[in-house]
Symmetry: C2
Subunit: 530 residues, 2 copies
Amino acid sequence: MKNHFSWKPLVVVEVAVILLIALPSCNSGNILVVPVDGSHWVNMKVLMEELHLKGHIMTVIRGSNTMYIAEKSPLYTSITIPIRTHLTEDFFPKFLKNVFEVQRGDKYLIKFLKFQKELLFMMSEIHCYSCQMVSDILENTELVKKLKEAQYDLVLTDPALAGGVVLAHYLKLPLVLNVRWIPSGEGHSALAPTPLSYIPSPGSGFSDRMSFTERVINILYCGITVFQQRFMIGPHYQALCDRYFESSCDIETLIQSADIWLMRADFVFEFPRPTMPNVVYMGGFQCKPPKALPEDLEEFVQSSGEHGVILMSLGTFVDSLPSDICDEIAFVFATLPQKVIWRHLGNRPSMLGNNTLLVNWMPQSDLLGHSKVKAFVAHGGTNGVQEAIYHGVPVLGIPLLFDQYDNLLRLKEKGAAKILDIATLERGIFSSAILEILHNPSYRLNMQRLSRLHHDQPNKPLDSAIFWIEYVMRHKGAAHLRSESYKLPWYAYHSVDVIATLLAVPLLLLLTIIGVIRYFCHRVCKIKSE
Amino acid sequence: MKNHFSWKPLVVVEVAVILLIALPSCNSGNILVVPVDGSHWVNMKVLMEELHLKGHIMTVIRGSNTMYIAEKSPLYTSITIPIRTHLTEDFFPKFLKNVFEVQRGDKYLIKFLKFQKELLFMMSEIHCYSCQMVSDILENTELVKKLKEAQYDLVLTDPALAGGVVLAHYLKLPLVLNVRWIPSGEGHSALAPTPLSYIPSPGSGFSDRMSFTERVINILYCGITVFQQRFMIGPHYQALCDRYFESSCDIETLIQSADIWLMRADFVFEFPRPTMPNVVYMGGFQCKPPKALPEDLEEFVQSSGEHGVILMSLGTFVDSLPSDICDEIAFVFATLPQKVIWRHLGNRPSMLGNNTLLVNWMPQSDLLGHSKVKAFVAHGGTNGVQEAIYHGVPVLGIPLLFDQYDNLLRLKEKGAAKILDIATLERGIFSSAILEILHNPSYRLNMQRLSRLHHDQPNKPLDSAIFWIEYVMRHKGAAHLRSESYKLPWYAYHSVDVIATLLAVPLLLLLTIIGVIRYFCHRVCKIKSE
């Protein structure tokens, strides 16, 4: 495993540029950003835009196969790492097709196991890709020298893929996480105590109030996560740790040693749960007050009159649903008096009504902030859900994969969303669901209550995030906020050794007393019988 | 127990005044404050002064035997409850004398047990007094009617004595706690998971890094707290709950159901530990930038020249140390080139030097903020410790009782204090300790680092506290930040039932298989033998 990855040369110019801009200045920090691609990058960029406004200098490490992370940007200088991946170009579309097939299959257990297999394979592949990238960096002595000489103030990374965490440890730099997920599951689970009696495991689809059976299943779900981390994902990182660090360590410990966790959640959205002093909640940090719409879109929205507009989008990852489902949805939309704006990249549904506008892209946040928008048909990605909360628009959810069901469940539990199952989605079900969201005022009222709570914070989430990033730069870390308890072995952390000792002492005493009594009884009996 | 307390009539005028001022207004809240006397009241008053500035109206419930809580104040209207207590006037001085005797006795275990007995007796008495006060209120139908009609927005209370918590539940009002201690120990322990492997029990004198033996003792300490709560303190509150609430409840559950916990700690001071979303850390909220000193005091301070000044104070509870110890300390002070300001209310020590000024009271915070002040000899009460952190003055601690040793330990662990044991205090030890604090720069540097960290927060602690009190008024509670997990029975909370089931299933399976195998072996043997 030690020589699993090899180094590919970098463009020298890029390294030179890094060096030029990386000279430390009095008022601005020098930040090394190791992002994750896709919707995660959308999040990271929001932080980076604000850091840029504050005068901080950033260097981004990107893979050569990135989908979203531009090589050139006024925000940052980039270092491109050539990526050799087993993932072919059609990997994600194929994965998605399989997911749809699995979800619409018949038998639940087989569906579930197939889906888990698909997911595990994909997770293992993308973590392998993250590790390969870090290995390529660390094998490139020239690049490592430059990274060390650049004197970064901190590493800002998204630990959903934990390569950036390994790199920060190697460079001995303070570490700030922009986090929702870590390789072993939900971010909190590595950090704060997570009693499984009221904290639902990701993917379980449970709320914080579980029946006995649900609590049993919840623990089994947690087992899947442990298995995944131990056998599918962990080994990739362990190989890196074994190769590049002298003292033994593992990826979980490296993640736990981060200075500040900027958590992409808040407790308007998330179920209340234990947390730690170095976790900063910045849920909805990406949301902004709505800007004016482009003229044609505004005209379309206004044409909806008193009935208003329905938005539909399934996020950046899913271009479109299977065509039969699209037809069912289009049919229902056509029967409504509302206007519909639908982000859809596949074939045009055959049943599309005149009231429905198909778009490749839409200014989603600005639209959600428009007073005419009455409902949001969404897949339940974190960004969309947070934007819906921010603007107070009730959601009709069609979750597809990852955390989407769990996200939507949090809204549903608060009376602000309905959830539909893609497996059983047909016009009757979709129609009654969208009509309920539109005409039962409780959904809108509940969502507006969540929105009021979200806006009522002492600081804006983005301002908090920036404060704590700058805090770590000012104090060269935040060790005093970080519990070192994770360095205890598991049996000590859970006091198993102490409890065993405390139980053993009276037990030994009891056994000794019984032994002595038996011995004397025996002697007495012997004497009597003589 | 049901009729343990009886009602005494109240001054009718007071009730009328409450009603007059308690009419709800648009911009101001209407707050019922149930404080705890002594240094706890000093804290509560800081919050109340700020709430008063914000235009909120407050009603304070005070016992007739209060030491500090004035009947008339521009800040609030008061309701005085006549108190019948078993505590005689000399109870506290006698208790303190006993504590000194116990601490300066010979044998550790006997000392410890005696001290615990003293403490338990005192705790039981003062909780009994708190319960009597609430019972007197609830038996007074006229007063209860007025309290209900006053339409308070919330109850603000210090749950060190939990009468206010019971009252809030009875009046069905949102509840904000100004908290460090609750009847069952440290505030967090009722709320957030508290792994005893790295969270030292109050009074244990351990840090967050414990040896195996310390971890064993830590769990035993926790046992003492449980015993105290279950058998000495809990029954007083249980009698109240049983008498006044129809559905069964206990004081722990009522405390856990508070909307917001304003915790008088922060993680510059406290060891990092799990927390919950509805805990707001306001450690040092009482601290303010220093004001100019009275002219004579400023003159005295300036007369210290380059050597500077030492402050000494043992808080509001302890007027003076035993006279032989005072003499030893006075002797050492007399040998120093520094000037000394000493809050001392007992007999004048015989060895007092010319450099030492004895005072009945001093503007402690303003003095700590003076650049000439070099060291603070203190008992380690929370207020003094927080003020020392705020102003960055290193501490020589002489802890006497309660949380004082634990407070000082937190500073010592961060290299900002030394702790002396009153049992062994004599001139040699005191002299070398104060000289080390004065001349080893690390104490001052470490304390100034803590001070910088304390001041570097997104919001001032007092502003945070006020924000969250007003938040509870705006939203009529903060249930979404409160985990309801405390309503689970203990075995469900800790998943004992689930784990037992998950272990029982394979065990039953194994036993069945063994049974079947044995049955067939038996049959085969039988057949063979036939």
